[in-house]
């Protein structure tokens, strides 16, 4: 049995996957920047989940990764958000992170030019979700 997507236990496993991924390390060698991923309720998910993740030079950064508490405010360079059903499409590779933005399935706040130079790294982060034993809602 896997871990429930975007649960605190799942985040721990995901951190290990990212830190162990050679492909991500290679693609994100120069990346510095943290994200909040926002998963808004849809389908079987009835509450909003926000996940903070610090990414630095191909690894999880010093500020780590965790699920944010309800109402908890946190500063981050980027916010990538979308409804749960679209996150499922992302994980199932039916859309890629940039396509998702173009189709309006996701919204991104932050310097988009910087993200466009890190498309490969973004895809590798998705691959790390796939490589983590994940149960969906």
């Amino acid at each position: 049995m896997g871990l429930l997507f975007a649960s605190p236990e799942w985040v721990n496993a995901y951190v290990e996957t990212v830190n162990g991924s050679k492909a991500y390390e290679d693609a994100a060698k120069t990346w510095e920047g943290d994200f909040v991923f926002v998963i808004t309720p849809a389908d079987n998910l009835d509450h909003e989940i926000r996940m903070y993740i610090d990414l630095y030079h191909g690894k999880i950064g010093p500020k780590g990764a965790r699920i944010l508490n309800e109402g908890e405010e946190v500063e981050s360079e980027f916010v990538y958000s979308g409804p749960y059903n679209n996150w499922v499409k992302l994980i199932e590779k039916k859309v890629d992170p940039i396509q998702g933005l173009m189709q309006g399935k996701f919204k991104l706040k932050g310097n988009m030019g910087k993200v466009m130079r890190a498309v490969k790294a973004a895809q590798e982060l998705v691959n790390c979700v796939i490589a983590t034993d994940t149960d969906l809602y």
Partner: protein
Amino acid sequence: MWYFYAPKTVFGEDALDYLDSMDEKRCFIVTDEGIIKFGMLEILTKKITPLEMDYKVFSGVEPDPREETILEATKICQDYKPDLIIALGGGSSMDVAKAVWVLYERPDLGIDDLYPFIDLKLGKKAKLVAIPTTSGTGAETTWASIITRKTDKGDIKLEQVHKEMIPTVAILDPVFVKSMPKGLTASTGFDALAHLSECIISVWKNDYSEAMALKAFELVQKYLPIAYEDGTNIEAREKMHAAANMAGLAFGNAQVHLGHALGHVLGATFHKPHGFTVGVFLPYVLQYCLHGDEAEETVNILGTFAKRTGVAKWDDANLDAAHKYVAEIKRLQKVVNHPTLSEMITREELDEKIDMMAEWCLESPSAAMSPRSAGSQEFKKIYEYAFENKDIDF
């Protein structure tokens, strides 16, 4: 859900007459000195003068246009306040004109803001008409503007994209391509071939793009050698012009990938013609995509494409057919005297820059569109194999 974006397209002899039907009165022409020297600007100005169009010319576009050039042209454009911008030239003039169009309409934005998912709401001040003078870039159809930026570590090419940067009208009049010299015919022709070949297997591939790519390949295969041998053959020129445009529509809606990542980096580093920088890698990136654990889909697409275009037989296995397609690309390279990588740069140059080039390939948004992913080691190996003219075996 996906899109197929295209400008209004006017093609064939006398396509330039389309301008007769336009009501705009102040025209900002973006071009380069070569276009003036070869009399092509004159063809355009002779056309618009009787239409009582006022015009101003910016002819400062250089190959691999720099962001400074765009900012300079934007300043002039903002002062002139046109209701029509015409890009006359090769890919560089169109890349500049697209960016100028955005910055003119949206003075609140900068070059780094040209990413795909914001609303620009262009067209309030001006339309953009693109008139290509080469047959290859497809830039008259696409949403990309390739801009060279100076950095501490050398030049990099920014691949700025936005669907609203697609020109309002593309005018494909063969009068502008009939005097292209041989080398330019070959390099731009190979750019078109790279577009259509890469995009049919990209992660954003789609049926509409493949349909365009099929006809485009048929035309390139037949007419590129003729246009190369006899530039005065107007039929071949007209067909190649259409082929390049169709290949542009194909990849504009499906994206190119590894060949263009490798080529853009090579071009930014050594300033070689874009078509040769991508053409030189085309056989190798196709071979690379035909290898690996997840190659089945690519093998099937490319194999079927080879059969449909008559490059392979219908009873060939798809993998054999796909390799026949690669062989056909190599044959066409020979026909038009396409330089090899070792003819374009020296061993010393490659050794000095290869690590840095492989890193930059990773930052190319194009690279992520490949059906088979590549890391810095793979990019290095493809550079090496291409330099040694060695078939990809990994």
